[in-house]
Symmetry: C2
Subunit: 372 residues, 2 copies
DNA sequence: ATGAAAGCGCTAACAA
DNA sequence: TTGTTAGCGCTTTCAT
């Protein structure tokens, strides 16, 4: 049985309010009493029950973060930064992985809603919007880690378009015209569209025809990288360059090329989207587009807390209005709430940030070899 | 302003108790009413407030997990599995990184205590025991991911001793006698002791003298791996084999050896503790000791929930006793509690599990070259 | 089948 | 400076 504030009050022979003042370091209490109470609390291993206080305060000090898979380095690093920032604000973070399943995503969000979390950061699997509608009808501030445009919501994400665009332009500038793109299978899974568009834009800008043959499906495992590399080599017209949209697959690719006697970059240039795995130590050092993972974590948390504060201020205002209303006409609450709802919906999202990504040229890309 | 059960009750024209029955799918309610209420709840975007219900139930549906750094793949994978299991049990998980700071570790635990989490999994930084004492005086079930022996607490972890032992024996069996060990700097940071002991045991078992020169401090970054590899080569009597206690540093090491013209394994054998980074695709494929990360996550969560259930049952019993006591003599509560406390302390921890690790021999280790 | 009422551990306004 | 009281939104027991 957990010891409560009343127990402490009883032992100290004071009221529970007094205990509270001591624990909260409130001014109106004598120092000796405070000390005594603190002492008793410590002896009895007592801490305030956040649950109860949150209930009374109608808030929580936790934020939720929903990602596809927390074991992916990108998300792991993100979560870590989010946690850091949350810590500064005195918040905890609860994580949920959706495993790329929109249903689980929705479920996670519902449960966070049930917990009445103060805010949610969500990296959606698809560009679907079910959860957006749900959250919009809620007063929970949320931030999407993905480019959900035209939906009047706040988001912050990497400039995925720019990533493949830069990688492609770089290869073109080295004389490559047949550039393969290894990308995850499901066209609906988030940055697919932008990655493909960046690649296509670069091609068309330089008058290079787009060839669907060069788009290779590659799951996010080293084993699939190995297998995909094999497919690259069997392409009818073998490409002189390859862009991989995942860093995880790179060891597999490099090995396959090595086994097949393909030299990087002499025979084939390799450029990678995302720069996670110590690429600057690889042999050869791997050219990659660096994603500012930690920055995304930090910024998204900062933005979320900004929204949380705004929301809280708004609620205070609403509450004040509400009180007045109650005094005047007690019957119209429903309408009043609808009014507020409408106001919320119209508020334009202010945060629309695309974090810049950076191409880091290393050894795995080079001049296109002459081909027959 | 979040909509509450009362709002729904008001709109539906019933009591809040009735709304509850509908939402909980309790039997004693007419189907039409249930439907109507569910409908209204959905329209108003209402869900039960876990906070309030937890308060009433005196439990929470969240467990805490404290790790040193959630962005480390080992922990990221662990957390993911813990989350999976928790999900099955209907629990959320809140994560805290201690950043290798015992103070932050304690702080995290205190905050989890404040949240009245149902249980805690903690991967401690050091073998210090402050948090153990704290948690023991709490009724929160907890499980330590580290080998804290002789403390009468439950733990589950990898058999770190066995990891270096196996790696060392393997190298010895290939004729190596000068085997360097690259290990993180702080002797007090958790598995240091066991890694060192495993290494030393293997050596002494085969009558190979222990040479402190061969123990190299190496932080857990590729850059430090690069630097450490350089130191290996500058050792007075150059070793013929190297065991790295971190997988993260391996790309840095391999590059340095490559740059210095050292061939692996012909000139130097390399064996790694932990098998994370697609080593089977590296060139050469890297021999490593595989840690069952996901298994640790899964098992620890399972164990924790077992403890949570036991704790809950015990609390029920206590409560019943408590009631009886109250009827008989209302004054002796304090003493009674002390009695329970004593009983708790004596309960022996039941869980003491060391997960087996597996040496996977690949290409980076081989027969020791003859040396002058 | 439905509702009233007390209580979970805290907060905050108001008394004393 | 200290205590009293009425909630916060839910659960549970007991009436109706």
């Amino acid at each position: 049985m957990s010891v409560t504030i009343k127990d402490i009050a009883r032992i100290a022979g004071v009221s529970h309010t007094t205990v509270l003042k001591a624990l909260h370091n409130k001014p109106k209490i004598s120092p000796q009493l405070r000390e005594k109470i603190l002492q008793i609390a410590k002896e009895n291993n007592y801490t305030l029950n956040t649950n109860a206080s949150n209930l009374a305060l109608k808030t929580t000090n936790v934020i939720g973060i929903v990602v596809t898979d927390i074991s992916i380095p990108l998300f792991a690093e993100m979560v870590r930064m989010v946690e850091r920032v949350a810590d500064r604000y005195g918040y905890r973070v609860v994580v949920s992985s959706s495993d790329y399943d929109p249903d689980r995503e929705m479920e996670a969000i519902c449960r966070l809603h049930q917990m009445r979390v103060a805010g949610i950061i969500i990296a959606p699997t698809y560009e679907e919007t079910e959860f957006v509608d749900y959250l919009k009808n809620t007063d929970i501030p949320f931030l999407v880690l993905g480019r959900l445009e035209g939906m009047d919501i706040d988001y912050i994400t990497f400039d995925d378009f720019s990533a493949t665009y830069k990688a492609t332009v770089h290869l073109i500038s080295q004389g490559h015209t047949r550039i393969a793109l290894a990308i995850h299978g499901d066209k609906d899974i988030y940055p697919y569209r932008y990655w493909l568009e960046g690649y296509q834009s670069a091609l068309s800008e330089y008058g290079i025809p787009y060839d669907e043959e060069l788009i290779l499906t590659c799951k996010v495992t080293p084993a699939d990288g190995y297998e995909t590399a094999g497919r690259v080599l069997k392409l009818e017209q073998e490409p002189t360059a390859l862009i991989s949209c995942s860093d995880m697959v790179v060891p597999g690719m490099l090995r396959k090329f090595y086994e097949e006697g393909k030299r990087i970059p002499q025979d084939l240039s390799l450029s990678v989207i995302q720069d996670e795995l110590a690429f600057e130590y690889y042999i050869p050092k791997v050219t990659a587009v660096r994603y500012p993972n930690e920055k995304l974590g930090r910024l998204s948390a900062e933005f979320l807390f900004r929204k949380i504060q705004e929301e809280q201020e708004e609620q205070q205002k609403d509450q004040e209005e509400h009180q007045k209303d109650q005094e005047e006409h007690r019957e119209q609450e429903d309408q009043e709430e609808q009014g507020q709802q409408a106001r919320r919906e119209q508020e334009p999202g202010i945060i629309r940030e695309l974090l810049e990504v950076e191409l880091i040229e290393r050894e795995s890309t080079g001049k296109a070899a002459a081909r027959t």
